[in-house]
């Protein structure tokens, strides 16, 4: 875990979200969690290998996932977190992580990312790192968090 690993993710939020119609981005608290991440409703896991190894776990509530999906689909109403909405949110996390990858490469850190896996319900995630950095955000006033569980490969 390294605080330097946060900036590429923050930058990616600022770069990617406006392209999808989400322009109101507020940074909230930055906290350090232990291995355990309580799901706010939806968690999306993206694996990372390369100079860094671990996972980035994006979290949001079901309600805000629907809101974000609706914005991404040009304001189409999203009443259920259905396949289409899940796919939109997965694609968002894929774009965010891919963009963060480019940020890392500017620091000469080369990483590759896996396909996102989205889970929803009432559950907990146990991360691969002992310490997880959590960045809380409000996007269009909806809660969205980025849990960074990555370590440098020794």
């Amino acid at each position: 875990m390294d605080v330097k690993h946060i900036n590429p993710f923050l930058d990616s939020v600022v770069n990617v979200m406006p392209q999808l119609g989400i322009s109101d981005i507020k940074k909230g608290k930055l906290t350090i969690k232990d291995k355990t991440i309580n799901s706010p409703g939806v968690l999306i896991n993206v694996g990372i290998v390369g100079d860094l190894r671990g996972n980035v776990i994006y979290g949001t509530t079901i309600e805000s996932a629907k809101g974000i999906a609706s914005t991404m689909m040009m304001g189409m109403p999203v009443n259920e977190l259905d396949e289409m909405a899940q796919s939109a949110i997965s694609e968002l996390t894929n774009m965010l992580t891919a963009n963060a990858c480019m940020g890392f490469s500017e620091q000469n850190i080369n990483i590759d990312i896996s396909t996102p896996t989205l889970m929803y319900g009432d559950f907990t995630a146990t991360a691969s790192s002992d310490k997880v950095l959590c960045v809380e955000l409000k996007i269009n006033d909806l809660p969205f968090e980025i849990n960074i569980a990555i370590d440098r490969v020794s």
Binding site: Q86, S90, M119
Partner: protein
């Protein structure tokens, strides 16, 4: 080896002749040509080529519309845009339409030939992946269980269905990344996870955290060993495994995987049922061009 079959879509007879000569000289077989949307549909539908070279500007249609038409006929046909126009917007749009590559006119013979050969080599490699990944991961699962628990699990029938899954309680997710991008998932009940960790640790886990860690480690071994086997079979795969994230709770639904190819099975073990799902897709960054 069979010749790679190509259809040329272009509205200029001069361009068609030029491209046709180049392709033939490079050892490809030109099996048809088209200069409108209707002709494209007809020729591609009849000839089913491996590759279509696609001009961008044509009267009454464009390369994008024709590309969509080709992929409606068969999504596995590779489209290469060959056009004098070339900017970020066109390239961006082409990528979204799953175009396999882009060459700017005037096309260079070597460049075109290299691009087609690279695309077709990639196609062969992906076919190899599709053939071997499920047996390799199944074997990896069986070997690990055999070594660590001295038991022989029984695999249920392989299923290709890719639908939303309600978790049995504990879900282990591991990203697999290399030439292609994939995901391995194990799902089991708390009871199975507990019995399994009891067996491997030869004692009761101290707490649920230890049990979760144990399941993660076991999954990691299966994934690591299986990927090593894949890489030994063909080093171009270059697979590496991201460490496991373990999801667990009373209500947990796993969304449909965004993977092109996947295989899953319920495995009967001495400790209870474990569901294994493994799948891969071509990477979105897989964009071939020499520019």
């Amino acid at each position: 080896m069979e010749k790679i079959r190509v259809v040329i879509v272009d509205d200029s007879p001069f361009s068609i002749t030029l491209l046709s000569d180049m392709l033939t000289e490079s050892g490809f077989e030109v099996v048809g040509e088209a200069s409108s949307l209707e002709e494209t549909v007809e020729v591609v539908g009849k000839m089913r080529p491996d590759i279509v070279t696609m001009d961008m500007t044509m009267p009454g249609t464009d390369g994008f519309e024709c590309t969509r038409a080709v992929h409606l006929i068969d999504p596995n046909i590779h489209v290469i845009i060959v056009s004098s126009m070339m900017d970020d917007e066109i390239v961006g749009k082409a990528k979204k339409l799953h175009v396999s590559g882009y060459i700017q006119k005037p096309a260079d013979k070597e460049e075109l030939s290299l691009l087609i050969n690279r695309i077709m080599a990639d196609e062969e490699l992906y076919k190899e992946l599709e053939e071997i990944y499920y047996p390799v991961f199944k074997e990896g699962f069986l070997n690990t269980f055999n070594r660590m628990t001295k038991t022989i699990p029984e695999f249920g029938e392989e299923s290709q269905s890719n639908t939303e899954q309600v978790s049995r309680g504990v879900s282990v997710v591991m990203g697999i990344i290399g030439k292609y991008s994939g995901r391995l998932l194990f799902d089991m009940s708390y009871e199975t996870a507990d019995k399994l960790s009891n067996e491997v640790l030869k004692r009761s886990p101290k707490n649920s955290q230890e049990m979760i860690n144990m399941i993660g480690e076991l999954s990691n071994i299966i994934a690591g060993n299986s990927c090593s086997v894949m890489n030994k079979k063909n080093k171009l795969f270059g697979f590496r495994v991201a460490p496991p994230t373990i999801f667990h709770g009373s209500s947990l639904t796993i969304s449909k995987a965004e993977l092109e190819s996947m295989a899953a099975a319920a495995v009967e073990t001495k400790f209870g049922e474990i569901y294994m799902s493994i799948g891969f897709q071509r990477r979105s960054g897989e964009w071939m061009s020499n520019i």
